[in-house]
């Protein structure tokens, strides 16, 4: 097997060790590594370990704080606002979603916003994590301006994403994530944590994408108390809803499958009708079995980073 294909656990252990060389021992090393690797597992490499090198340098040079200690600024019975302590967006997202899930267990729903952190480029990981615990979850995230208003010319909005997940009777939750930009920027442009996008994007479906982007900006940007337009600063908002406060989880799952049945019957060929996320779970299963094949350039970058600390690349010789 060429050295750019390796098992997910080996890859995340390697990245976790690399982070510990910078930050010492902290559970955040493994959380961050696993979150990145998960995106490679589901076939979204642009939000995966391709971002590691830039993160690593930002951490080493003090632009990103890792480990970070997000602080509770405001808390109420069903919501909270955190300060992200200039941490990686992935780490603060995990802490914010944990908080939202705890609040949801107590009060039925939890909404947690977090500002002062860096753009993770994704919210899928957190919502599916909540769905696996029988919560319905929503997430909203802003990014640096790259998109025009509807009918406008200059970038005034981020690629502002929203994500949604709901449990099913299998271990493969419905998982939906979308950017409000149209069309999706080429994955290469999103590599790293700094926006490299030069052209101004337009909102998806015109007014609809614009409206959604504004909604995301208010929920994730403004409600997180995030500073307007500061570079590298991103806002996120997480919502968790405890299904068991409405009905037993099993009943909800049955209703989900019934809805899926209606969908499957709505065309000529059931195999061409899917729920969002299904293709991701297929890739995840495939990559868990066969390993993750990294872009050779990414693999070489990561191997070189390890060499600086005397770490051996955990797979074979690199192509």
């Amino acid at each position: 097997m060429p050295g750019n294909t390796l098992a997910a656990d080996k890859l995340s252990a390697y990245l976790g060790t690399l982070l510990s060389k910078l930050a010492g021992d902290t559970p955040q090393n493994q959380t961050l590594a696993e979150t990145l690797v998960w995106h490679d597992l589901i076939g979204r490499p642009a939000q995966g370990v391709a971002r590691f090198q830039a993160l690593y340098h930002d951490i080493r040079e003090g632009r990103i704080t890792h480990p970070c200690q997000p602080a509770l600024i405001k808390k109420n019975h069903s919501g909270a606002r955190l300060d992200g302590d200039n941490g990686p967006g992935q780490t603060v997202a995990t802490q914010a979603m944990d908080q939202a899930m705890t609040l949801a267990r107590e009060a039925g729903m939890g909404l947690v916003t977090v500002g002062n952190s860096h753009d993770p480029g994704t919210a899928a990981y957190e919502v599916q994590r909540a769905a696996r615990q029988n919560l319905v979850a929503l997430a909203f995230g802003t990014s640096a301006p790259c998109m025009a208003a509807h009918g406008g010319s200059e970038p005034v909005l981020g690629e502002n994403r929203l994500a949604f997940a709901a449990p099913r009777s299998t271990d493969q939750p419905l998982l939906f994530e979308m950017l409000t930009t149209a069309p999706d920027p080429a994955p290469g442009l999103l590599k790293g944590t700094a926006p490299l996008i030069q052209t101004t994007l337009q909102p998806f479906a015109g007014a609809k994408g614009y409206c959604l982007a504004v909604m995301v900006e208010i929920l994730a940007g403004i409600l997180s108390g995030n500073a307007e337009g500061e570079s590298g600063d991103t806002g996120q908002c997480f919502v968790a809803i405890d299904i068991s406060r409405f009905m037993p989880a099993a009943e909800f799952q049955d209703r989900m499958e019934e809805l899926y049945g209606f969908i499957k019957a709505s065309g000529d060929d059931p195999s061409s009708l899917h729920l969002p996320g299904e293709a991701r779970w297929q890739l995840l299963a495939q990559h868990q079995q066969q390993g993750i094949t990294l872009d050779p350039g990414t693999a070489r970058e990561l191997a070189a980073l390890g060499q600086e600390h005397g770490l051996t690349w955990p797979a074979g010789d690199l192509p």
Partner: protein, 349 residues
């Protein structure tokens, strides 16, 4: 084409009277009339008094309960459910959002799931209730299936609107109210009025072939907005408003216009977020004003049309119509005249 302009107050009085004649309890008639007239005021006639004939027909027949007694369940500190008792969706939606706002005052956020309800009109109304109390509002509602899944062509979802409202300092809240389908009825009506073919990609027929004749759309299935994304959003709305709440979903939701045996069985989910429990209001408005100035500062692609924030145009129409009267087209005018005659209520023109 405007056939007549009716003053807001007299149009509301007319709506209250016809609803009451059609067996709707006074409080519920007033609430429903307020919401219908408000929709006309903001220029969304498709959710306005145009709906009175069908609502009165259903309440009069007893298929829609004009004297509903909503039943509440306290699920958790911040979450409640209400069984709408097959009542007017507007009234039930209103009491549900009012309750979500009370829950938000106590808890930071409040959520109410609605079951056994009916068509509730413009979601924008409920979220602006929250916005006027300096809260953020979200409203999700499912509806009778006429929208396909991505990759399918038979109806699975309603037009499944989602609405979002956030307060602005001048009282003209940001309002988002969008169908997750490719096209709401109002867009199709524009093509009908202009007697022009629609572009492909809006709707398909029973064989899955594109419909371009706007008069054929009733027989067809609308496609989700932007394919996979609109499909995901339609699912989001269907799951939150129907699957989660315990209400009807997909084919369990019945048609307002075609089914005269069953209640609609619609579901809603209403959320209120009390901003000041997250950050000081002053801070919120400061950030919002900066953001709105950024949007307004955009160079318009069409020099004639400045960039607006979502809802801004609605408030322009609102203020204009409040002053000049609510414009009603010929079809609506005649339908209300007919309804007034049947129920012995004088039209306000």
């Amino acid at each position: 084409m405007t056939a007549v302009r009716a003053p807001q107050n007299t149009l509301r009085d007319f709506a209250v009277s016809v609803l009451q004649k059609a067996k709707v309890a006074p409080e519920q008639a007033e609430c429903t009339a307020d919401i219908l007239v408000w929709s006309d005021l903001i220029g969304r006639g498709s959710q306005g008094v145009w709906r009175l004939p069908i609502l009165c027909k259903r309440t009069g027949m007893g298929i829609l309960n004009g004297r509903c007694q909503p039943q509440w369940t306290r699920n958790a500190a911040a979450v409640e459910s209400v069984n709408g008792d097959n009542g007017l969706g507007h009234y039930v939606g209103h009491v549900a959002m009012a309750r979500a706002m009370e829950l938000a005052k106590k808890n930071g956020c409040g959520m109410v799931g609605v079951t056994h309800s009916n068509y509730y009109g413009a979601g924008a109304y409920y979220v602006q209730m929250a916005a006027q109390q300096e809260m953020i509002g979200l409203a999700f509602s499912n509806s009778f299936p006429k929208v396909a899944a991505h990759g399918g062509y038979k109806p699975v979802f309603g037009t499944n609107p989602m609405a979002f409202g956030a307060p602005s300092q001048d009282g003209h809240s940001l309002l988002v109210d969008m169908a997750t389908a490719q096209s709401a009825g109002s867009t199709v009506r524009k093509y009908q009025e202009a007697n022009k073919p629609m572009p492909e990609g809006i709707a398909v027929d029973a064989q899955g072939k594109p419909i371009t004749d706007p008069f054929e759309i009733e027989k067809g299935t609308i496609l989700p907005a932007g394919g996979a994304r609109g499909y995901g959003l339609a699912l989001l709305v269907e799951i939150l408003s129907g699957v989660l709440t315990g209400a009807g979903f997909s084919h369990h939701v019945k048609s307002l216009y075609k089914d005269f045996e069953h209640g609609g069985n619609n579901g809603n989910l209403l959320i209120a977020i009390d901003i000041k429990q997250f950050l000081p209001l002053q801070n919120y408005y400061q950030k919002l004003n900066t953001f709105l100035a950024l949007l307004h500062g955009s160079t318009p692609t069409d020099p004639e049309r400045k960039v607006l924030y979502p809802g801004e145009l609605r408030w322009e129409e609102h203020d204009h119509n409040q002053q000049h009267g609510i414009p009603l087209d010929k079809a609506t005018k005649e339908a209300l005249e007919k309804l007034g005659k049947e129920l012995e209520v004088r039209v306000p023109w």
